[in-house]
């Protein structure tokens, strides 16, 4: 209880625009960034897509704040997905890193990044994954880390394989790593997928192409980063992430 701060401990840094009341029920404006809920090519959206107009809320402190994270929340080994078995994980060892910034270009420090993915054979360590590819006893496929004081994060993992799904005939997901980020506030929460440059499966994937604006879609493709590649050990990929959304910041202590 003593560790909580009153509402007065925050100041709203960037409040979302407040439209007049009558516009709150207007149809959702076209959104060039995020994928639509309803996207028939991705069949599971049919019964799981809200159909009514979204309501723009008058943001309150609940939306402008969010959970805090600290060193006790993660272990250093949580950021290396290859060291949790008795032996070496199978596949192409890679380093994935990047910087998390907010919409104003400021780094987002000490913020949680969670990742999960298939193994090199395209198989998830999940009961419902029926893809007849082998599980790797030395690869769990899940990790987490915190961004550092400059908003930088880094994982060591194995390049995931593509895998089949039943969305359409001969459907394959491009290789991807799922990322979950909290940012500073509820409004900045993000779950996305990181793809790899030059993947030949992009053209037939309705999840990747669910982001309709190609310039925004391309942000989800990581960049090969030879400066991060470690000689004789692992190749590097860079994936910088901008989290948009208003946030309240703790007031400086006098």
């Amino acid at each position: 209880m003593g560790d909580t701060a009153g509402d007065g401990g925050f100041e709203a840094r960037r409040l979302a625009p407040q439209p007049p009341d009558e516009s709150r029920l207007a149809p959702q404006p076209p959104d060039e960034l995020d994928p639509p809920y309803s996207f028939p090519d991705y069949r599971s959206t049919a019964l799981r897509s809200p159909q009514k107009a979204l309501v723009v809320p008058p943001f309150g402190m609940t939306e402008l704040t969010g959970p805090a994270f600290g060193e006790g929340d993660v272990r250093e080994s949580d950021a290396d997905l290859t060291v949790h078995g008795a032996g070496e994980a199978i596949g192409e060892r890679i380093i994935v890193h990047g910087t998390v910034t907010d919409g104003d270009g400021r780094p987002v420090p000490h913020s949680l990044v969670e990742v999960w993915q298939a193994n090199a054979g395209g198989r998830y360590r999940h009961d419902r994954d029926r893809h007849p590819a082998p599980l790797d006893p030395n690869f769990t496929g899940a990790g987490r880390c915190l961004t550092d004081a400059e908003g930088h994060y880094r994982f060591v993992t194995i390049k995931p394989g593509p895998y089949p799904w039943k969305n359409h005939t001969n459907a394959w997901r491009p290789a991807h790593i799922h990322l979950s980020l909290f940012g500073r506030a509820f409004t900045q929460r993000l779950i996305t997928q990181m793809y790899f440059p030059g993947d030949p499966l992009f053209y037939q994937d309705p999840i990747f192409n669910g982001v309709r604006d190609e310039r925004a879609r391309k942000r989800m493709i990581s960049v090969y980063d030879h400066d991060t590649t470690v000689e004789e050990w692992a190749t590097g990929y860079r994936f910088d992430i901008v989290l948009d959304g208003a946030a309240a910041t703790p007031r400086e202590q006098p």
Partner: protein, 198 residues
């Protein structure tokens, strides 16, 4: 040949926010964690169970959804210290909870009712929680609020009063035994009011 062919050009990425993608079906081994549904400790005064079902457009349970809630405490204060991955103290409160749905699409959090906190205009609001819903088949999260049916302040809450009267109840949890029940209708006649925050 694929049924879909999307054009892939050499257009470069523009700078800007990272888009959303679906959480997919296989997050179960990565995101849920022990004690995730415990926003408040079992011995905290006033702690109750907030539970319900997530239902699709045909009223069928969504068994592979993930819910997260974030809220103020009984005094309207927000937790500013880390600790969401640790077991919550018996009388503790951490403001954040995460719960995956079961085969019947059910979820359950243990929490307390927050005090009302003001909105960005400084106007008072009724007590509420913020909710994120993630699932396979949802290319981005769905966001709503949970209000409580025994709060007179609901009648003057700026968000609730801005919503059509016939839909307000979709954001209001109802008393259920010693706790509250809140179902999420992703789609359909009784579709929950979802908010545009992303």
């Amino acid at each position: 040949m694929s049924e879909f062919v999307y054009e892939v050009t050499d257009v470069a990425a523009s700078p800007g926010p990272m888009p959303w993608q679906t959480v997919g079906p296989f997050f179960g081994f990565a995101l849920p964690y022990d004690d995730g549904p415990a926003v408040a400790g079992a011995e905290r005064q006033g702690a109750f169970t907030l539970s319900g079902q997530v239902l699709d457009g045909e009223g069928q349970p969504v068994p592979d959804a993930l819910l997260e809630i974030w809220q103020a405490d009984e005094q309207g204060r927000f937790v500013t210290h880390p600790g969401v991955f640790h077991a919550v103290a018996a009388d503790g409160f951490r403001g954040f909870g995460r719960c995956a749905t079961d085969e019947q699409g059910r979820y359950a959090f243990r929490t307390v009712k927050p005090a009302g906190v003001p909105n960005g205009d400084g106007r008072p609001q009724a007590p509420h929680l913020a909710v994120s819903l993630f699932a396979r088949g949802m290319l981005r999260r769905a966001v709503t609020r949970v209000y409580f049916d025994d709060e007179a302040a609901n009648d003057t809450d700026p968000l609730l009063v801005s919503v059509e009267t016939s839909r307000r109840h979709t954001m209001v949890a109802t008393r259920d035994g010693g706790g509250y029940r809140f179902d999420v209708h992703v789609q359909g006649e009784n579709e929950t009011v979802f908010l545009h925050v992303d």
